[in-house]
């Protein structure tokens, strides 16, 4: 574009002012990129969650137990591949602040349901043989310095054992790698059969059945069948896909999201006035220059377009810088740890470009219109 040098030079007429305006735009879009990036990152992560896993809990609430007898009935449904279970143990190590996210489960089934977990077969075999055995996540082992073969006391604020103690002794029989399921995946598993025998109350209660199904497309049908099966039992159930479950747990995050969007919205709105002001000042100062362009035969429309292009260039350039910065931030180790292998979604970049164009148009139009309307004779005479 042959007019580029003309537009570019006009943009840098007052360097300091342009730089400051630019910094504001860069910061606004950095903020936008970060918040939207995180937002999109979560929804992308959510979409990759499996729909071939269903979670069955008591209809009245996740902490109310269901009878263990449901296990076999769910397992017998057509289309069900494997069923495991979770009972909260609510553990801690040494003092209540050192939380150990412990669950009682059927380990052999659990690792069928969560296919991506990496575990050595001999650990699974040891778990079957050792009643007081536990399998722990490698990250937890690192955190507390535990090794296979250690006997560890785990406290619980919920369960007393038949010996009347709140502290249970377990033998670590193996570790596993669950990085495929993110940071939130429970890290400590004891044998449900042992737990159920040893606890002094609540016998036969389970908090979650985790159902792996053969065909994800059957998720809705099987969910309905499970809930229908227990519809008139003592404990009714509520069956959700993993996606739906995560969504309901992330609802609070949605609220945070709203606030974040509101902040970004406010920042962009302020930006509108800032940019408009910069452009307006710049056009005012250039009254005689614009008049000269018109004198030399630049049409009113051409002058309007030149000013608009200037505004567009300013906004797009700075927005690209801001979103680029956000993309770099996402490559930082801390965020990579949080989100896994995550990069700035293309959608966010496109949204950013769209907003930049909108800001450029809204803030560039009034000065551009003013430039268009400029009367040559008056402007040249300084009237």
């Amino acid at each position: 574009m042959k007019y580029f040098s003309l537009v570019w030079a006009g943009l840098w007429r007052k360097k300091t002012r342009t730089v400051f305006t630019m910094i504001s735009i860069v910061v606004a879009f950095l903020l936008f990129g970060l918040l939207q990036g995180i937002n999109q990152g979560f929804s992308v992560a959510m979409r990759t969650l499996d729909v071939d896993r269903l979670y069955v809990s008591a209809r009245t609430g996740m902490t109310d137990g269901m009878p263990i007898s449901y296990l076999q009935r769910i397992r017998n449904l057509p289309g069900v591949r494997a069923v495991s279970l979770w009972a909260y143990f609510g553990g801690y190590y040494q003092d209540a602040r050192k939380v150990v996210p412990a669950f009682a489960t059927d380990a052999a089934e659990l690792f069928k349901v969560y296919k991506e977990i990496k575990i050595k077969p001999e650990y699974l075999a040891a778990m079957e043989k050792t009643r007081t055995g536990v399998l722990i996540r490698d990250t937890l082992a690192t955190q507390y310095g535990w090794k296979v073969g250690d006997r560890i006391p785990i406290g619980t604020s919920i369960w007393t054992n038949k010996a009347g103690s709140n502290t249970w002794e377990f033998d670590i029989v193996g570790t596993f790698d669950a990085s495929a399921y993110g940071m939130g995946f429970p890290a400590f598993y004891l044998n449900y059969s042992y737990f159920d025998e040893a606890r002094s109350f609540g016998t036969g209660q389970v908090h979650y059945y985790i159902v792996s199904i053969q065909d994800p497309k059957q998720a809705d049908r099987i969910s309905r069948e499970i809930d229908a099966m227990f519809a008139n039992s003592s404990v009714e159930t509520r069956t959700q896909t993993e996606f739906a479950l995560a969504q309901s747990q992330l609802k609070q995050l949605g609220d945070i999201n709203f606030i974040a969007n509101a902040i970004v919205g406010a920042v962009l709105f302020t930006l509108l006035f800032l940019t408009a002001n910069t452009m307006m000042q710049s056009v005012r100062e250039r009254t005689s220059e614009l008049a000269v362009l018109k004198t030399l035969g630049y049409s009113d429309t051409k002058v309007l377009l030149l000013v608009m292009t200037e505004s567009l260039l300013l906004c797009l350039f700075a927005a690209a810088l801001g979103i680029g910065l956000a993309a770099v931030v996402f490559q930082s180790p801390a965020l990579q740890k949080l989100f896994g292998n995550f990069s700035m979604p293309t959608l966010v970049m496109m949204m950013g470009a769209g907003i930049a164009v909108a800001v450029a148009f809204v803030s560039g139009f009034p000065p551009a219109w003013r430039a268009r309307q400029l009367n040559i004779v008056d402007a040249l005479a300084g009237r």
Binding site: A9, E289, L293, S299, L380
Partner: protein, 230 residues
């Protein structure tokens, strides 16, 4: 010979508040191709107003303005700006260069409106700058040049698209004697060797001496019209 510029009974009025002020009262004027005309007269007599009408920057209130075969008083705003780009070169008292652009970029500004290739534009800019004797200052910004040099850049910009008519509003008004003489010699050369028709408003009788014809305007009326032998 057909006249290059013909004004027939041209008046120009401005409305100031509720009052209508007539600045030019029925001007009749013809300018032949190749003339170098100096327009003189006291401040406020309407010289700039008349020049603007001839250059297609403004429209008359009544009367006809015929320049280079076009009835420019009948052109729309849009076609008038195209017309100016093709026919008129402008030289102002305060040079009016774009301060952010180098001399050569300033001279190139009118050429951006044409379909010329980049290399052709560059060639023409080079020729124009050489003509005004500033080829070696091509990369300088206006604030790195003296007033006389800036005016020469402005002249290069005015002639680069080879216009039919050069209009100058007090081209030496802001210059010292020496620079003013250089500018007048340059304009004379453009008139004599390059056959450029020039209409120049000036207060300076010394500058007017370079012209082939002197025209006086007083209170919106043409008073004195003298031609000088070349």
């Amino acid at each position: 010979m057909t006249a290059l510029v013909t004004l027939r009974n041209v008046t120009k009025s401005y409305v100031r508040g509720k009052q209508k002020v007539e600045v030019l009262h029925g001007i009749d004027l013809t300018i032949e191709p190749g003339e170098f005309l100096a327009l003189m007269g006291p401040s406020g007599s309407g010289k700039t107003t008349l020049l603007n009408l001839v250059a297609g920057l403004d429209q008359p209130t009544t009367g006809e303005v015929l320049v280079a075969g076009d009835r420019i008083d009948q052109l729309s705003r849009g076609s008038l700006s195209d017309w100016r780009a093709r026919h008129i070169g402008f030289i102002f008292q305060f040079y009016n260069l774009l301060p952010v652009l180098t001399a050569e970029a300033n001279v190139e500004v009118p050429l951006l409106l044409t379909n010329l290739s980049k290399s052709e534009r560059r060639r023409r800019v080079q020729v124009a700058l050489e003509l005004v004797g500033l080829a070696e200052r091509a990369r300088h910004k206006p604030n790195e040049l003296s007033g006389g040099q800036q005016q020469r850049v402005a002249i290069a910009r005015a002639i680069v698209s080879d216009p039919t008519l050069l209009v100058c509003d007090e081209p030496t008004g802001d210059l010292d004697r020496q620079s003013a003489e250089e500018i007048m010699n340059l304009l004379t050369a453009l008139n004599r060797s390059h056959k450029k028709t020039i209409v120049m408003v000036t207060h300076d009788p010394k500058a007017a001496e370079y012209a082939s014809r002197e025209l006086h305007l007083d209170k919106g009326l043409l008073t004195n019209d003298t031609r000088r032998a070349a």
